[in-house]
Every structure is written in structure tokens, then in C-alpha cells.
């Protein structure tokens, strides 16, 4: 029993300490951002690695998720003769929920894990230490540009995911199942609200981008500098990001649509 309490205590202390270190890193990153504006080319370079290289997986996944939504939605709606509302169903589910959440999960798997592995390996091969000794702050030079790139990429990727998803649903709904295209688009336009739905979805994706990139960079920066340590950190990035995304999604949804 005592052992159990001791282990629990150690775990809690360890977690608090990590949270503290993660917060310190975040503060360092945020204070480095104004300086980064003078050298935006560093961010642009990372936008390519973090954002552009994630586009393919986002587009393909978005297309399939949209097509499945189209099929499933049609099957339910057709029983009530409401199949023309397919556009609304699909657009609301994608813009409010699936777009931000699924693209953030994919982003964590594709870009988050890559960021952790990269930073962790830079640490274990003393590249970060080497920069410090060259009087270059690795947080400002390496971490902050990646953070900003993640923050910018995530909402854009989520928007692409939703757009392609809607297109996928339209393909299935209209071309395959024969839903009227005019009704599909006009009902969608009438029922999807700019502030209520789209903006809230964008806010979600910004929050997810912030959290996922933060977790990924912290895990890399805090990794034990061995191959095993970097491997563990990479796994933790994906697992913790998934928890954070799904947990925060509930909180944000409750705040936005909860009344």
C-alpha cells in the first residue's frame, strides 16, 4: 500500500515537473516569436516540412471521410425522405467536428511525430548543445519557427480536410446516389453559419495546432538523448496529442455549442 502511494506520489511529482518544464519552454518560444518575424524565412522553410508535406495525407483522408459520411448520411436520411439535407449534415459534421479533430489527429501522427524525432535526434547528436555553444539559442532558432509553422498549418490543413470531405460527400451523394445537386449546395449554404460553425471550427483547429505542436516540440526537446528515449518521446507525442485533442474537443464543443 505504502509502495503504491509512493509510486503515485512520484508519478504526480514527475508529471508536475514535466508540466512546469513544458510551460517554461512555451514561454521561451513565445518570447522568441517577435524576433522571428524579422527572419520569417525560417518559418517558411518549416511551413513546407510541417504543413505542405502533410497536405497529401490530409487530402486523401478528407476525401474518404467525406465519402463515408455521404454514404452513411444518405442511408439514414433517405428513410425520412430528407436525403436532400445531406449537404447540411456533411458540412456541419466536417466543419464543426471532423475537420478539426481528424486532421489534428493526422497532423499529430504525420508532423508531430516527425518534429519530436527530429528535435530529439538533434539533441542526442549534440546539435542543440552545439548551437548553444555557438551562442545561438536553439529554442529561438530551431523550436520557435517550427511552433509557428505548426500553428499556421493546422487551421489551413483542417480547412482543406473539410473542403475535400464535402467534395467527397458530394461525389458520392450526387453522382452515385442521385441527391439533387442544387438542394445539396443551397441547403448547405443556408444552414452553415459563418460565425457559429466555420469560425468555431477554425478556433478549434488553431487550439489543436497549438497544443499538438507544443507537445511534439516539448517531447523532442525533453527527450532522453538515446535512441530508446527518442522512440519513447515520439510515441508519447502521438498518444498525448490524441488525448489532448479529444479532451479539448469536448471542452471546446461544450463551450461553443453547449447552451
Amino acid at each position: 500500500m505504502i509502495d503504491f502511494i509512493r509510486t503515485l506520489g512520484r508519478w504526480a511529482l514527475g508529471t508536475m515537473e514535466r508540466l512546469g518544464r513544458a510551460t517554461l519552454l512555451l514561454v521561451q518560444i513565445l518570447t522568441g516569436i517577435p524576433e522571428l518575424m524579422m527572419r520569417f524565412s525560417l518559418v517558411v522553410q518549416q511551413l513546407f516540412y510541417v504543413g505542405v508535406l502533410s497536405v497529401l495525407i490530409i487530402l486523401v483522408s478528407g476525401l474518404f471521410v467525406g465519402m463515408v459520411l455521404g454514404l452513411q448520411g444518405y442511408n439514414t436520411l433517405v428513410d425520412f425522405g430528407a436525403e436532400e439535407s445531406l449537404g447540411v449534415l456533411v458540412s456541419l459534421s466536417l466543419v464543426r467536428e471532423l475537420g478539426p479533430v481528424v486532421s489534428a489527429l493526422l497532423f499529430a501522427g504525420r508532423a508531430g511525430s516527425a518534429l519530436t524525432a527530429e528535435i530529439g535526434l538533434m539533441k542526442s547528436t549534440e546539435q542543440l548543445s552545439g548551437m548553444e555553444m555557438m551562442a545561438v539559442d536553439p529554442v529561438r532558432r530551431v523550436i520557435a519557427p517550427r511552433f509557428l509553422a505548426g500553428l499556421i498549418s493546422m487551421p489551413l490543413l483542417a480547412a482543406m480536410f473539410s473542403a475535400v470531405g464535402i467534395l467527397g460527400a458530394f461525389l458520392v451523394g450526387h453522382s452515385l446516389l442521385g441527391v439533387d445537386d442544387g438542394a445539396f449546395w443551397s441547403q448547405m449554404q443556408a444552414k452553415t453559419d459563418w460565425y457559429e460553425d466555420i469560425l468555431n471550427g477554425v478556433i478549434k483547429s488553431i487550439v489543436f495546432g497549438f497544443v499538438v505542436t507544443w507537445i511534439a516540440l516539448f517531447e523532442g526537446y525533453d527527450a532522453v538523448p538515446t535512441s530508446e528515449g527518442v522512440g519513447r518521446s515520439t510515441t508519447r507525442t502521438v498518444v498525448h496529442s490524441a488525448f489532448a485533442i479529444l479532451g479539448l474537443d469536448f471542452v471546446l464543443t461544450a463551450l461553443m455549442f453547449g447552451e
Binding site: 549534440e126 546539435q127 548543445s129 552545439g130 548553444e132 555553444m133 551562442a135 545561438v136
Partner: protein, 268 residues
């Protein structure tokens, strides 16, 4: 003559393990000073303490009149611009090529025009004999070449001193010879101060002006290579001549071999 680096009463622990227990070291300008000792005596830790990457529990390290651990972040970074450090692994940035690696500190810290940066980088690479390898990526370099590139990079800002962390480890005889010569030649030609951390006795004694021997968290002996070769101490003799047994036992301390054999299976 005041030393460039003055270390006084240095205490440093890692957890419960005592790494330094009251170390005093003076490193003089223009000289090649070697810090030697068996593996695990904290030689690399000493370099990190000098560079301000680690903080001692007690004692002071004064570099060029400035107490490293009392400096503000900005002042510490300014001091680091005057220090070069050669990491054991080279620590080259793996996503950019040799030229860009050497140019890195220049791009970060100066506003020099592109053509001048090019000239400076080529000069540094010429000095280490790798001007024609400038387009190679770090992954394509051999260990010795990587270390020479790292040396060119450490010199890019023309520092007053260079810290070498185990520069000879894992080198073939040719690149070893090249590095040994380079360190001495650079030191004399550019008026540097060099601190070489190493446990390669033969190579280090060739180029060092002063040697400090560390063991068990303390300075065991110091002096010129000749003085140390003639030292009366058994420990120093064992280390300098690489004898397998002596005051430092060959066997990791613990139970006797015979007891272990007789203990049977249960005591694995």
C-alpha cells in the same frame, strides 16, 4: 601572467554522484592545456561548465575576467561568441552541407555580405584541408572529416579560445595525425588558447604545454608532459603509461571471483 580561465574550488554533483570535489585549474593564454583522466571523470562536464551549459554547486569559473555563472544570458551568449567548442561527435547540423555549417555562426551573428562570408568560409575550410568538400552533406563525411569541419566551424568567428572534447577518439592514424597537427598549428598561428580534453596520452602529450590529470573529482597532478612522465606517483605512472593494473584496478570493485563461483546459481 593572469590566466585566461581560472577555476577555483569547483564542486559539481550529478544526483548523488560527485563529479568535481574542489577542483582548481588555471589555463594560460596562448597555450595548449590538456585535461586528462580516465573515462567518467567528468572531463566533458568540465567543458560544459566552462561554456556555461551547466552550473556548479559551488566554486567559480572565470573566463577572461568574467565569472561565467554570474553572467546574464545576454552576456553569456556574448562570451560564447569568443569561445569555440569542438564536440566529440562534431555536432554538425545534419540538414545543411559543409559550407553552410561553417557559415552558420557567421550568418547568425554577423551582417557580412554574402561574398565576404564565402571568402571567410573558404579560408576556414582551406585551413582544415576540406575546401573541396564544401558541397558534401555531414552524413557523407568520415568521422575525421566531420571533426575537421566542426573545427572550421568553431573557428568561424575567430574565437579567443577553443575547447576540444575528445578530439582524437575513434580516429584512424592518418586523421589522428592531421588533427594533432591542426590543433597545435591553429593554436600558434591564430594566437588561440586551446583546452583539450582527452584520454589519449600519446597524442595529447605531443602537443600540450600543460596537463592536468583529473581523477575521483580532484586534480591528481599537473605539469608539463615531461614533469608528468617523471612523476613519482603510482597512479600518474599507471595512467601515463597505460598499465592495465595498478592503483586503478582492472576489475570493477565488488565481490571476489572465487566467492562468486562458489555462490552457485541462486546469486546471479
Amino acid at each position: 601572467m593572469t590566466p585566461l580561465i581560472k577555476i577555483r574550488d569547483l564542486h559539481f554533483n550529478r544526483g548523488d554522484k560527485v563529479i568535481f570535489d574542489g577542483v582548481d585549474i588555471d589555463i594560460y593564454r596562448g597555450k595548449v592545456t590538456a585535461i586528462m583522466g580516465p573515462s567518467g571523470t567528468g572531463k566533458t562536464t568540465l567543458l560544459k561548465l566552462i561554456g556555461g551549459q551547466l552550473r556548479p554547486q559551488r566554486g567559480s569559473i572565470v573566463v577572461d575576467g568574467e565569472d561565467v555563472h554570474k553572467l546574464s544570458r545576454k552576456a553569456l551568449y556574448a562570451l560564447r561568441k569568443r569561445m569555440g567548442m569542438l564536440f566529440q561527435s562534431g555536432a554538425l547540423l545534419t540538414d545543411i552541407n559543409v559550407f553552410e555549417n561553417v557559415a552558420f555562426p557567421l550568418y547568425e551573428h554577423t551582417d557580412l555580405p554574402e561574398s565576404m562570408i564565402r571568402d571567410l568560409v573558404l579560408m576556414k575550410l582551406q585551413a582544415v584541408g576540406l575546401r573541396n568538400a564544401r558541397d558534401m552533406m555531414p552524413a557523407e563525411l568520415s568521422g575525421g572529416m566531420a571533426r575537421r569541419v566542426a573545427l572550421a566551424r568553431a573557428m568561424a568567428l575567430d574565437p579567443m579560445m577553443i575547447l576540444y572534447d575528445e578530439p582524437f577518439t575513434g580516429q584512424d592514424p592518418i586523421s589522428m595525425g592531421t588533427l594533432v597537427n591542426l590543433i597545435r598549428r591553429m593554436n600558434d598561428a591564430m594566437g588561440l588558447t586551446s583546452i583539450v580534453v582527452s584520454h589519449d596520452v600519446a597524442e595529447t602529450t605531443q602537443i600540450a604545454d600543460d596537463i592536468y590529470l583529473l581523477s575521483g573529482g580532484k586534480v591528481v597532478d599537473q605539469g608539463t608532459p615531461e614533469q608528468l612522465q617523471k612523476s613519482g606517483s603510482d597512479w600518474v605512472e599507471q595512467f601515463m603509461q597505460g598499465l592495465p593494473d595498478g592503483p586503478v584496478p582492472f576489475h570493477y570493485p565488488g565481490t571476489e571471483f572465487a566467492d562468486d563461483l562458489l555462490a552457485g546459481e541462486e546469486n546471479r
